[in-house]
Amino acid sequence: MITPVSQMSLEGLIELYCQLGAQQDLAERRGEIAKFNRLVDRVTEIENELGRRPGDQRTVLLKLYGHAVMQVRLNAAKGTMKVAPAEARKQLELIAESKWYPQAADAGMYLYVIDGKFDKPRR
């Protein structure tokens, strides 16, 4: 049985967040895009739950900038865009320049979209 995120401790949420990122990494490498996308929704669910907690707990994701799995770093950078935009942008730039694919390309396109002459992000 999976515990709803609203009932999970902060530590539990962070651990789950990292596990989901690692599973995304594997899914992408195996070409399981549908699974990857479902995992994105679960990652977003945790970010939303952190945002609902007192003081907007998404700031705890900042410590994941140094995580050993690049997908977790990427998720954390995107997940902190609202609460620490300067740090998040710096992290996305680092990932984009890292040549660690596919996350480098993801980070690059994310920045391209939010900086572009196209639709602006509203997250």
């Binding site: 195996r30 549908a34 479902r38 995107k78 997250r123």
Partner: protein, 323 residues
């Protein structure tokens, strides 16, 4: 280390090393040794040079008088005595990593349902859904850890190359992609390890059909004219023709076929980069209008041809095929 571990390690050491691995040792290889390590203990051939005591093939044969490494009888097969890669790479750690990987793989992959449709189209995508990994299983997937170069303190371990061809397409895809990515990350900075790993890739019979794709993944970015000029050439192993504006989604949006099929919309790029771009279009990875992430394909579905082309060129830059 138990005797069983040692046997396992030795088996993999043989598996990972070509018998003639010394041929891939670069002249600057000693720069990678730990301080204090005797060069001869790791690279006996580099220190050998002239040695008056080195045995020669006895007179009386066609090779009489030539230097030999083996004993009497002129065994000219090179079997480097004391070639100890562990001094160079901490091979035990690499092997331990592979062992962990294997066990993780088996536990993680057990939940996967469904089989492949065959050998064709490895670089296509799994359209059908499979059961999600239950997070409560608490099993850590075999992840690629970020290496020292990125400041994490982890090793960028070479991925496992199974001796036998994995039955499922997704497993083959993972091996091929991991190998290509690892070589791309390490070919420049870990020359010896990369050369040896390349040797292991070349040794795996089942990977023969993928070596061109693995090789071309390391191509340097080129300008658009070069990539488009190649489209006119005969097909080339390791490359595929790529539509800069995605063909199927553009057709679904009623964009003119003349534009979609125009030579100006085509570029020949490395196969695995083609895969990466397609994956990038399909994965939820950019911010959507309501805050949730959406795929690039979703983002572009109501955009005109020119906007799609701008994005198409940008994705080519982001994956490193276009200057």
């Amino acid at each position: 280390m138990s005797a069983r571990d040692a046997l396992w390690r030795d088996r993999h050491r043989v598996r990972w090393l070509r018998p003639d691995a010394s041929r891939w040792i670069k002249p600057d290889a000693t720069a990678f040794l730990r301080p204090g390590v005797a060069v001869a203990s790791v690279f006996p051939t580099m220190e050998a040079k002239y040695n008056s005591n080195q045995p020669r093939v006895p007179a009386g044969s066609s090779e009489g008088g030539q230097w030999t490494i083996g004993g009497e009888g002129g065994d000219i097969a090179f079997d480097p005595p004391g070639f100890d890669l562990s001094t160079l790479l901490d091979f035990d750690k690499v092997i331990e990593g592979l062992s962990d990987l294997s066990s993780d793989l088996s536990s993680i992959f057990d939940f996967l349902a469904g089989e492949d449709s065959g050998d064709s189209g490895d670089f296509t995508f799994v359209a059908g859904d499979e059961p999600d990994v239950s997070v409560s299983d608490n099993a850590a997937p075999p992840v690629q850890l970020i290496s020292d170069a990125n400041g994490s303190g982890n090793e960028d371990k070479p991925p496992n190359i199974p001796e036998d061809k994995p039955e499922r397409r997704k497993d083959r895809m993972q091996v091929v992609k991991d190998a290509a990515n690892w070589l791309a990350r390490n070919a420049g900075r870990m020359t010896i390890a990369a050369d040896i790993f390349q040797g292991a890739v070349n040794q795996a019979e089942w990977l023969k059909g993928y070596t061109d794709a693995i090789r071309t993944y390391r191509d340097e970015p080129k300008n658009l004219e070069d990539l488009q000029r190649r489209v006119e050439l005969p097909s080339d192993a390791g490359y595929q023709n790529h539509h800069i504006v995605e063909k199927s989604s553009a057709r679904a949006s009623n964009i003119s076929r003349d534009l979609i099929d125009s030579p100006d919309n085509l570029a020949r790029i490395p196969t695995l980069k083609h895969y990466e771009i397609t994956s990038l279009y399909m994965r939820k990875s950019i911010p959507g209008p309501d805050g949730a992430e959406i795929s690039l394909r979703q983002y572009l579905q109501d955009k005109d041809f020119e906007t799609r082309r701008l994005f198409g060129l940008e994705t080519m830059r982001k994956v490193g095929v276009l200057k």
